[in-house]
């Protein structure tokens, strides 16, 4: 097949000059900040260059329709690949479904059962052993050494006395089993195990794996059984220091003026002590928060409090549910130690924010 006709040389040289100009353009524009358009501009220029190469150097412009379709189809496939992968990843965070909010107890279900189950019994221990083997041993190990699964952070080693984030007293362990440990692989077993079952497995762990398990103090027991809400487990570091460490200064977030939340009302004081570091003085959020216990770092941006997908702005129950349980896996810690009056104050203050 001979190829007569004029040389394509002049066209090639023009395309070459165009490519060089566009290369310079893309380098120069990279020194300017167009915000979100940076990547779009860079990709637009690259696509123009690519089109020049494909159409003229590779002669797709005057090639058969079949070849053109074949090549363009690869770009469509690639586009599909990108779009579906991205849409999976970026829309993964679901709003808390309304059904999960409906059955709210008193923060963490407790009272009458605690008096009943605080003491171990042979039946409870036997039941606890079965539950432990079925539910816990995969991660915490058959002998409780935390060597079952290689999670990050690693599962608790019950035979050691250090490392327990929430404490080693029975009530502390009950809270941990019930509500899980946000930011770790320890799930909340409230909906999986009944109160009795949770106490059974705790007794099993305490008698089989823990060498000298401490007991609850009288105040803790009184508080838990009085219907007021369980005391917060003793934090290892002060709450506001922890919150400060979690949040990362982010260029998108407005600079937080922590002092701008006046501690004039009880609700405002509670908010300033526990919420402002992540949610901001006006509730606008935007702070970048590290997910503690996830190594190395993953982080999330705090959404604005104007989001009402859970209906918390109309429903104090939903609000208490979210705040007390936290959002496991989403870097929101749970605070469950407020009294009923404190809940009311915090709720009305938070509702009054205008992010």
């Amino acid at each position: 097949m001979s190829h007569s006709g004029k040389s394509h040389g002049p066209v090639y040289v023009k395309v070459w000059i165009g490519l060089l100009i566009l290369t310079v353009t893309t380098i120069v524009t990279s020194y300017y900040n167009f915000g979100a358009f940076n990547i779009l501009i860079a990709m637009a220029i690259a696509t123009v260059k690519a089109s020049l190469v494909v159409l003229f150097f590779m002669h797709l412009y005057d090639d058969t329709r079949l070849n053109q379709v074949v090549f363009v189809s690869s770009l469509l496939c690639l586009g599909l690949f990108v779009a579906l992968t991205a849409s999976d990843l970026w829309y993964r965070r679901d709003a808390i479904p309304a059904s999960a909010v409906s059955e709210f107890g008193a923060g963490i279900d407790l009272p009458a059962d605690i008096a009943q189950y605080r003491a171990a019994s042979p039946e409870l221990l036997a039941e606890g052993q079965k539950i432990y083997t079925a539910q816990c041993a995969t991660c915490h190990g058959a002998a409780g050494h935390g060597d079952g699964a290689a999670n990050t952070p690693p599962p608790r080693n019950f035979t050691q006395t250090d490392g327990w984030h929430f404490g080693r007293t029975p009530l502390a362990m009950f809270k941990t089993v019930t509500a899980g440990s946000p930011g770790t692989s320890m799930a909340a077993y409230q909906s999986v195990l009944s109160v009795r079952e949770r106490w059974a497995v705790i007794h099993f762990i305490r008698s089989n794996f823990m060498p000298t398990p401490p007991d609850d103090s009288a105040e803790e027991i009184a508080k838990a059984t009085s219907g007021e809400g369980m005391d917060a487990p003793k934090m290892r570091i002060p709450v506001d220091m922890a919150l400060e460490k979690m949040t990362i200064a982010s260029p998108q977030a407005p600079s937080l003026e922590l002092g701008s939340v006046q501690r004039s009302t009880p609700g405002a004081t509670l908010y300033a002590d526990h919420c402002v570091h992540c949610h901001g003085p006006s509730g606008a959020g935007g702070q970048k928060v590290a997910k503690l216990g996830v190594a190395p770092y993953a982080y999330e941006y705090v959404p604005s409090l104007s989001t009402n997908s859970t209906g918390w702005q109309e429903n104090q129950t939903a609000f208490v549910h979210i705040v007390s349980r936290g959002l496991p896996g989403q870097a929101k810690p749970g605070f469950s130690h407020f009294t009923a009056a404190e809940w009311d104050a915090l709720y009305s203050f938070t509702k009054s924010l205008r992010p």
Binding site: L20, T26, A50, F81
Partner: protein, 216 residues
């Protein structure tokens, strides 16, 4: 098949009826291959997109550790090599085989310059501890996932570099064919397909350069 007759040119394989059919089959085959190449690099680009979307600040900071000048030089070098290759194919089609050979040698020269610059880039990175994957040992980036960017960098530019080496091999083969006068105005398929492959290598770098070097 080394003999030729009037109806049966030397280059025509037995399973093709005419030269024209052979030529269009070869072209189609190459475009199908380019589809696989687009999706091969496409997989890496998707990984890049996902991780850059998750960790934009990391990418911004890590990209500053790449040498824009070297990247820019390589871009220009590849663009020039595309020109010389396109002109070489054109020369072959017009039976100007000595000219085609010179142009193809220039293309190889550009490709070797590209690989040389890449060698210096990589050597400098290794020296600083910016290594792929588990060997990452650089402490100048305040982000414990810094190795992620460099894994992608080495994977994408490394795979591209392998394609450049293959391209050099193909062009040297084409030079030999031209020297033996086994290609010319009658039959230039190997040279043309080598050229199209070479332009794809340039095309991929056109996207790699802004995405890796110019996160500004």
């Amino acid at each position: 098949m080394s003999h030729a007759t009037a109806e049966h040119p030397a280059h025509l394989q037995h399973h093709f009826a005419t030269s024209a059919q052979q030529y269009s089959s070869a072209k189609l085959g190459l475009w199908c291959f380019l589809v696989t190449e687009v999706l091969l690099f496409g997989g890496l680009f998707v990984a890049y997109i996902i991780f850059r979307g998750l960790y934009p600040d990391l990418f911004h900071e890590a990209s500053a550790h790449l040498n824009k000048v070297m990247g820019g030089v390589n871009t220009v070098v590849l663009i020039c090599s595309s020109l010389t290759m396109a002109l070489a194919v054109d020369a072959t089609k017009h039976n100007q085989l000595p000219r085609a050979q010179v142009l193809m040698w220039l293309t190889v020269l550009c490709a070797l310059i590209f690989m040389g610059v890449k060698y210096f880039e990589y050597a400098h990175k290794f020296h600083e501890g910016l290594l792929p994957g588990a060997h990452f040992a650089f402490h100048g980036i305040a982000n414990s996932r810094a190795g992620l960017f460099f894994s992608l960098y080495f994977m994408m530019t490394g795979l591209h570099g392998i394609h450049v080496l293959v391209g050099i091999g193909l062009i040297l083969w084409s030079i030999r064919l031209a020297g033996q006068r086994r290609v010319g105005a009658e039959y230039f398929t190997p040279v043309e397909l080598t050229g199209i492959y070479w332009h794809l290598v340039d095309l991929i770098w056109i996207y790699l350069f802004p995405l890796l070097y110019l996160i500004g």
